[in-house]
Amino acid sequence: MELLDHLILGFSVALTLENLAYCLLGCLLGTLIGVLPGIGPVPTIAMLLPITYVLPPVAGLIMLAGIYYGAAYGGSTTAILVALPGETSAVVTVLDGHQMAKNGRAGAALAIAALGSFFAGCVSTIMIAGFAPPLAEVAFKFGPAEYFSLMVLGLIGAVVLASGSLPKAICMILLGLLLGMIGTDVNSGVARYDFGIPELQDGIDFAVVAMGVFGFSEIMTNLELRDQRVAVDSKVGTLYPNKQEFKEAWPAVVRGTGIGCALGILPGGGAVLSSFASYTLEKKMSKNPERFGKGHPAGLAGPESANNAGSQASFIPLLTLGIPGNAVTALMIGAMTIHNIQPGPQVMTSHPELFWGLIVSMWIGNLMLVILNLPLIGLWVKLLTVPYRILFPAILVFCTIGVYSLNYNVFDIWVTAAFGLVGYIWAKLKCEGAPLLLGLVLGPMMEENFRRALLLARGDYTTFVTRPLSLTLLVMAAILVTLVALPSIKAKREEAFVDEG
């Protein structure tokens, strides 16, 4: 059993005391910050990213992954208790989760969310372990032309499935790709767009952009809203769902997990799409759909499991192809490159301990979250009451210190401030930051493959369409764009995103 050997290798890596400790630390920190209202997982990860740079690669990535689930978990806690979703995928959690809390079943809601997520985590971890190796086999057949086309598909898919205005989102991708061009060109050694500033020759760190565009601008938008005072009902109640709730929740958990696993592999699919799809399905299947939105356990259990399965499954394209599907996985790619690990199919063979260690630690992380967080719920509730006027200066401090520690250079602080400024403008213009981040991370890789493909084809552009695999990928991308542009679907899609807002 090859799979078994792999998993044993994974456990041997993930169960070392050091890695367990970092996994735990990541989960705790992630939850801690994720619980705080108004901070989504992307700024959380961006903020904590510099800490993981000082660790060895395996430990660093394990901790990052821990931060990710922690943040997601913390986000659903906030969504259930105070109806403040930190990210789009938690919007659905609010619908029935918060209603349950209002009905006095807050504890049960939290437990259902946690157990559902854990179940989804177990299944999707097994799926990653099973699916990743064959997918990586396929990826090994890819030449530069296929890689380029795959990235086009990945980027298009990410915005088609997860963003508002399509042309604007594509513009943000292009801008991200251009920002990725800043710095020394690896082929010629020419410094591009450096404007004579030596610090820019190393390029712009994606953590700097993420903190500026997501962290700083979010702070300013939140401040404008004049924080709605968070009213927490500190009575969480019993953590045990009753028989009726349990009976209604578990089929939804299973279905949600299935949806999440299937949709999570798609670029951009991940958490958001899965949770929406699952909610719709549960409502359609239910014998009494009128109970949805009034605290139906299935309306919470389904989406929560789906978004956890989805966000884990989005690690499949990340680990096998090196293609990020959303902003979070883009940050993971960036972190891998910092640790000198080129993401892609070769990771599995060149760093098997990292690959399988990370997968197993995902499962352990999920387990830790269930074991730790349910008893700690009282603490998280207290955190919810921290007023924003104390919170936001703290975020600013963490970002500033974190950015400075990247290179021990104050220049990075200024660049972050600059991105905070443009991020604020973009927020006003409703231009999304996530596509920009994807472009920024993929920019150098995309150029490299584009150049190589054309070098091999002696400058013949048809290489992208004459190679069958590459053509297939490009056609898929084209189909996605046309589908979205069709009037009937366009209207539906806009409707869906309006619901989200």
């Binding site: 292009l174 702070i219 936001f392 200066p393 006003k428």
Partner: protein, 151 residues
């Protein structure tokens, strides 16, 4: 012709400007040929694509059936305080050291909140300085200029 979707229009204008800017700058680097690309080739065409698509976005905003949107008012006070205090921290870090800079960052940025109270701001500042010392300096062992350089 009427400017209906203001958000999209100004986004489009921004994309065109940035695209043109990047493309123009790229012409200063060697372009090479498709088979042997120079450093300017890829960014040049990216810039051109961005400018073209930006134009599509901007023109789409002028269509009669475009959604009507307004650009929300900018809150310049918050913007200035938040970004300003971060920039200032960058300036002061090497002269005043991390402790004083962090305290100033917290205190000054707190002014952006509509419920500012100097007592709370100062207390938060002291707490965060302690936290930075404990977590980043002692815990992670990051190397910062700690105290003012002139002392």
């Amino acid at each position: 012709m009427q400017l209906r979707n203001k958000q999209d229009f100004w986004s489009g204008v921004m994309f065109v400007a940035l695209g043109v800017g990047f493309a123009l700058r790229a012409t200063k680097y060697s372009m090479g040929t498709a088979a042997r690309m120079g450093p300017g080739y890829f960014p040049f065409w990216l810039g051109v694509c961005l400018a073209l698509l930006g134009a599509v976005v901007a023109l789409g905003a002028l269509k009669e059936k475009a959604h009507e949107t307004e650009v929300e008012r900018f809150d310049f006070k918050i913007l200035l305080i938040v970004i300003g205090s971060v920039v200032l921290t960058g300036v002061l870090m090497n002269y005043l050291g991390v402790y004083i800079s962090v305290f100033l960052l917290v205190f000054l940025s707190s002014l952006a909140s509509h419920e500012f109270s100097w007592k709370v701001a100062a207390a938060t500042g002291i707490f965060l300085v302690l936290f930075v010392w404990l977590a980043f300096i002692r815990g992670l062992g990051l190397i910062f200029p700690l105290w003012p350089s002139f002392l």
